[in-house]
């Protein structure tokens, strides 16, 4: 037999395209030819493959070898085609029967000695392969656990090219890691060592984050340096409801494409927390590259994106967040097509109240009113409009540090959050929304109805606090969440009053 084909896959963004690796060995000048819209790292595979085959003790005949990666319209990148190319060539040389490779997907990078090295993006590829009717995958041994996350597949891990050949020849057996649902999923998140109980005092901020998480609201923490804003933000994922299996898989998929999954425990059972430095570029934040890879906002999908020192970020960088915050996904357009990455996260921002950080402590603050105004002016109004809750993180006082009072743990806060989330899910069933933060104007009218007393309160607040239509809606949404936390059907005065306390700082009146 001189022709054979092996199934492999190419990843574009998060989208997986199955690729047929075809090899043909025929009489002619001894050349090794590779075609099929290959990037340079795939072209280099020819050298790796030939050397790896020779070092595995197999002699390459002096024949003309042509390798084609179909479909030719899809750009192939990465080193994961090494193993499939080698197997296709060996099959067409007759080293093992080609039928052995039917319904089998192969991924893997080769070393010159024939060893098989790990690759990125295994999970989405295996998921896609299953969908298209494959029943077996040959993967690098290190990627086996990741591949096994997809149920109902026979996952084989190989360490060396020779081992793969022997297996396909029936000379040895490889213990198949049968695809099974990992039992960790959907349970309590793995202990990450962080807990709200670590934070002494700071009741107000804790409450604000609880409300924010319960309703999926974005949060801005304002406070002087060293007031524990980062500490607080890091613990936000610990009170988020644990991800269900579907969510875990979705999150893991993104990390898999970037080669960021843990080899031993590939499934992401916790929610991600991504802290971004303020020097971040647009491309790193939303995803980029000529064939885009997911950026920080997609890595934060299902979890928390934390922007510390918000006022230090470049204005244009913050502006690109506006659309994903609204749509909960990011659409990146390149000449070769559209790429959509999920980006459903809770945004937690932190900033100082003024450049020196001490406002409104007038004995320590050295900033002039115009400086403070300018500092706040760095963040655009449309961006602030997407943040529902603003809370102050106060300077930590000695009493708070010294006291040894037992603080509430993340687990018990999470229980309340889960309850509130459940209420929301049931209420918005079938509307394509699942948290209060997603309410549109029409839904607000339907679900945030106010009684007479509440109506009066809001009218008063509207005029005396100088609210705008936008802040009014935000207060309603937050009040809805507080009511849900409270287990109340309707929004009461107390809920509204608390929500008013979380409203966004008004630039006009600040630092006057």
């Amino acid at each position: 037999m001189s022709f054979s084909t092996v199934l492999s896959a190419a990843i574009q963004g998060l989208h997986v395209e199955l690729v047929h690796v075809e090899a043909d060995v025929s009489n002619g000048l001894p050349v090794f030819h590779m075609v099929g819209y290959l990037s340079s790292e795939v072209k280099e595979a020819s050298e790796r493959v030939r050397t790896a085959i020779r070092n595995s003790g197999i002699k390459l005949p002096a024949k003309k070898t042509v390798v084609n990666l179909a479909p030719a319209t899809v750009r192939k990148r990465g080193a994961s085609f090494d193993l499939p190319i080698a197997l296709a060539v060996l099959a067409s040389m007759g080293s093992f029967p080609g039928e052995q490779l039917e319904d089998t997907l192969v991924l893997g990078e080769l070393g010159l000695d024939g060893s098989v090295k790990e690759v990125a993006g295994v999970l989405p590829v295996v998921m896609q392969a299953k969908e298209e009717g494959c029943r077996r995958c040959i993967l690098p041994a290190q990627n086996v656990r990741e591949g096994a996350l997809v149920g109902g597949m026979e996952i084989l891990g190989v360490e060396h090219l020779t081992q793969a050949c022997q297996y396909l020849n029936g000379e040895c057996r490889i213990e198949a890691v049968s695809g099974r649902m990992p039992d960790e999923a959907g349970k309590e998140p793995a202990e990450c060592g962080l807990d709200y109980a670590d934070i002494q005092g700071q009741e107000a901020v804790k409450r604000a984050t609880e409300v924010a998480v319960a309703g999926g609201h974005n949060l801005l923490l304002v406070g002087p340096p060293g007031s524990g804003k980062t500490m607080m933000a890091k613990r936000v994922p610990t009170i988020l409801p644990p991800p269900v299996l579907k969510e875990s898989m979705e999150i893991t998929k993104i990390y898999s494409v970037l080669g960021m999954v843990d080899k031993e425990h590939p499934l992401m059972t916790g929610r991600p927390f991504r802290s971004v430095h303020h020097t971040v570029t647009k491309a790193a934040l939303i995803g980029g590259g000529s064939v885009p890879v997911p950026g920080e906002i997609s890595l934060a999908h299902g979890g928390v994106l934390f922007l510390d020192e918000l006022a230090e970020f470049c204005k244009p960088v913050l502006e690109v967040l506006r659309q994903p915050l609204e749509e909960r996904q990011i659409r990146i357009t390149r000449s070769r097509g559209n790429y959509v990455f999920p980006a459903d996260f809770i945004l937690v921002c932190a900033m100082n109240p003024c450049p020196c950080g001490n406002y409104p402590d007038f004995n320590r603050c050295t900033c002039t009113p115009p400086q403070i105004q300018q500092y706040l002016g760095k963040i655009s109004q449309p961006f602030l409009d997407r943040i529902d809750i603003c809370a102050e993180a106060p300077q930590i006082r000695y009493e708070a540090l010294a006291q040894e009072k037992k603080q509430e743990s993340s687990a018990s806060i999470r229980a309340r959050v889960c309850r509130a989330r459940l209420v929301q899910q049931e209420r918005y069933e079938g509307r394509g929304i699942w948290t209060n933060s997603m309410l549109g104007v029409n839904e607000l009218r339907e679900f945030c109805r106010l009684d007479e007393a509440e109506e009066r309160l809001m009218r008063k607040a509207f005029s005396s606090l100088g609210l705008t239509a936008r802040t009014y809606h935000k207060i309603l949404k937050v009040a809805r969440t507080i009511a849900d936390l409270d287990g109340s059907d309707g929004i009461r005065e107390s809920h509204l009053k608390e929500a008013v306390g979380y409203r966004m700082i008004d630039k006009k009146y600040w630092g006057r």
């Binding site: 005092g201 700071q202 009741e203 107000a204 804790k206 409450r207 604000a208 304002v222 109240p353 406002y359 409104p360 402590d361 007038f362 004995n363 002039t368 009113p369 115009p370 603003c390 809370a391 102050e392 106060p394 300077q395 006082r397 009493e399 708070a400 309160l457 008063k460 607040a461 005396s464 606090l465 507080i482 107390s494 509204l496 009053k497 608390e498 008013v500 306390g501 979380y502 700082i505 600040w510 630092g511 006057r512």
Partner: protein, 359 residues
Amino acid sequence: MMYEYWLASITAVSDLKKRWLREEYGTGKAVYYIEEIQLRGLEYLEDKDVMAVLRARKEKNIEKEWEELEKRNIRFVPYFSEQYPRRLLQTDPAPYALYVKGRLPREDCYSAAIVGARRCTPYGEEMALRYGEYLASNGVQIISGMARGIDGAGQRGALNGGGATYGVLGCGVDVCYPREHIGLYMDIQEKGGVVSEQVMGCPPLPMYFPLRNRIISGLSDVVLVMEARERSGSLITADLALEQGKDVYALPGLVTSQQSQGCHRLIRQGAGILISPEDLLLELGISEKESIQKSDKIEKTLENDENVVYSCLGFFPKGIGQLIDETGLGASALLQRLTALELKGCIREVSKNYYIKVR
């Protein structure tokens, strides 16, 4: 008058020399037409002064400038004018001429200057507002510099009180500085006036501000310093006022507050102490207009649990963390009460979750 304006607008020649010139020749027009030789013969004019006058004669299109002045409703009031404020004549040196948008302070009304730091605390601001409002509602004219902080607050208070207030600027009267006070600038013109000795279109340069301060103190009968640091422009105003023989009052603050150090020093030097607006009015010998309805003690109108929070607050901002410690309330309960108090107008949020008492 056009020629008088021409003479006044020669900024290169000092006010005093312009005055001598005018007094020697009688009118501005006469000065305009003096021969060059004659000018050079005047011993108090240096060469550069003569050059400035000659240049002004040649280059200035005074007709156009005069028209512009009228078009913008800017009044030109030289020192010999009937309208020139009598109080100012006693200052040394009295400005050669004033440019006015709106009115000039009335001679028959008592006038008080409210001055203080631009970077002030909510306490100082609130007090300036309160003094401005109370005094203005009792017919006292409020003079100030329309600057950020205390000045602006005092004048805003006067406007709230329905009285007259006058802003003395360190730039041309057609320039609004600071720019964010444009609303105040317009309101002051309606209820009083803006005054400056600088010519039209003059930018706000630092050197003009001490000069402006002498006009502020000159136009007023009493100077109230609300908040001043140890080295503050407001202290210059106070010193000038003392030189001009005006009374100076200072508002005490916390001894630990840097913003009040200047005030405390003034008090030690013998300035009057501001205890309450009513007290001041009494001391100035002005009778209170039909006494404004004193509202009930605010504490009585509050619900019990609101009172707990209210009593913890003062004029210096307190953060929510501290309030939790002091009241022992939970975060959500505390926020509810704070919002209720805010809606009642008893407290104000000065920065995110920092509150002060306002009533």
